[in-house]
Symmetry: none
Subunit: 196 residues, 4 copies
């Protein structure tokens, strides 16, 4: 296992990108080390094993890579808003925008989900993979309830529901009117959360 020199970091990034491209094109099942090797122009699958402890390690790095990109975008757009309701709207819109601009990454996210395992090798529930997203959103909703902007509802249930509505769009990537969906999404959860 190599240290974190410049070339090492670059290699890892290259492999992660090749893996994302391969999974997006062929699906998770067919995206073997052999296929990723071909696409990345690596000399041998051995190079992947050299840079990542095992397949699960690679999967985790892919997730981190994509989440980092997404988080940067989302955080920025949400923080510009003043009211919680606006922040929720910004959250929904930013999610759909990310989806439109990074459909490949988003598809890979859902493809990898069911195959992730924790440190002991046990499979995450696919819920587990989304738990982080849900928590963040749940906190935002609670904030709105505390400030009096939102009505009284089960914040966790609502958060799960919203993530589900976003994920549904994710799986439609390709043949899908993103902007139309975005409008209904915002409208639906505005009605669902606002006071009165």
């Amino acid at each position: 296992m190599p240290e974190y020199s410049i070339t090492t970091v670059a290699r890892r990034a290259q492999i992660v990108q090749a893996a994302i491209a391969t999974i997006a094109e062929l699906g998770y099942d067919k995206a073997s080390f052999a296929r990723i090797t071909e696409r990345a122009g690596l000399s041998s699958p051995r190079l992947i094993s050299y840079h990542f402890a095992n397949k699960d390690d690679l999967n985790r790095q892919i997730l981190i890579d994509i989440y980092t990109t997404a988080a940067r975008l989302l955080t920025e757009r949400i923080e510009q808003q003043d009211t919680v309701a606006d922040r929720l709207r910004a959250y929904l819109e930013a999610n759909l925008d990310f989806l439109r601009e990074h459909p490949r990454e988003v598809a890979v996210l859902t493809a990898i989900g069911p195959h992730l395992r924790d440190a002991e090798g046990k499979p995450y529930t696919s819920a587990g993979a989304q738990e982080g997203d849900v928590r963040v959103l749940e906190a935002l909703l609670r904030q709105g309830q505390d400030s009096g902007e939102f009505r009284d509802f089960d914040a966790r249930a609502m958060a799960i529901m919203i993530r589900g509505a976003i994920t549904a769009a994710v799986q439609r990537v390709g043949d899908f009117d993103v902007d139309g969906y975005k409008r209904e999404l915002v409208s639906t959860f505005d009605r669902a959360t606002r006071r009165s």
Copy 2:
């Protein structure tokens, strides 16, 4: 490929049930013919190949099996309602109830989805696999709009969103307050669809 004699039908059902149990416990990847054979107490994996054309055929039969069960329950409960709004509520509640009573089947449904292929061997998009559900729901929503019960919204987008919210619950199977979620789900989409 054997005909549909009594013993054959029974064997197929046995294998399908064993496959569902195996996938639910080990995940799709690890649910090989060998594992299913063990669980079903069959003499040889050959027996699965004898009764199903190939793995995809087995997957499809699993899906049909589960969908048939679900459809029976859903249809019945929906048809008892008079107004479209009540039917939508019944649809949502019945979905969540099925989920609570058949968590294993529901988990298998989502596990198999990404691996299904159509008759020519091409992979379904996960959207494709859900398209049927979406269409049925979309029709119901349009009916409510036509009757004047529902406000004017994009019925297809709304249908996708509702399916997403249901699927999100599906993936939480296990550590999840189904009844709480059910309440918020009904409330949210009542607000989202009703006139005024």
Copy 3:
């Protein structure tokens, strides 16, 4: 193993014909009991095992079937000739004619050859399968030498050579000028055998 009733004989013939058709179309390797069953419209591969001791038995019956047909034709045409030279010519021409009229049977003959086994299960040399043909022809040639029509040559070698020239045509079935080949064949072995 059934006795030789009328229905049994008919069934056997049906299976042999289906096997010939299947081998001709798919090649020997892919002509499994399963494929033959489909083509013959039989209820189960079991019916083949019921009527033939094993695969080798079926192969042998196919050979007998085809050889019987061919022998009937050849014998008749040869016996009509008076001189041995004419009989050799008739033999060559009749062989090529059979080839043109029964390309399927002829193709099957060469396809099965390498897979034949003797009673103890040992593989025939492909030579073995043709030994009968060679012997018959060798006798004819010797007859011509004894009568003084033919020059002195190694009759066995010549017989093998002629069979080889015929077999070469067999393998060209399809894209092949049979009549042109027939002319050269007759001419070549007339020159090769005649006195002076």
Copy 4:
């Protein structure tokens, strides 16, 4: 698929030789990767898959290996001759000599033939596999006709016939008087081709 390093080339050659020996002894059908592995003393059948893309690739390499050996011998002996008639004779004799000295390779050639597939996976006709040989010979015959050494005959038909006569000998490998056959072969096709 590994590059062409020294060890790789040696391994490939080792596997090809083991495959030839295995096919010669057991026949094509029984010469599975497992049997070849045993004979070559490899650690795992996986090693064959590592060095050859698939079974067809291995078959092709076997063919190339044998044809290369044969071509070297034939070409040399033919080129030493001055007249076309002598070259034809040398061609025939060299073929039979190769057959006597490499009976195993020659047997494998005919065993593999029917199983070869082209790049798209379509089966060669057995004619197709021999087409190269026929063409070369046909050219030689035409050369003789052009130079006036040979009489006027259908060069293609004659080429096919000669290849058939050679192949017939090939299939007799083992119990066969090669030199006797060689004499009659040369004599027959001398008479068949020469002017007057």
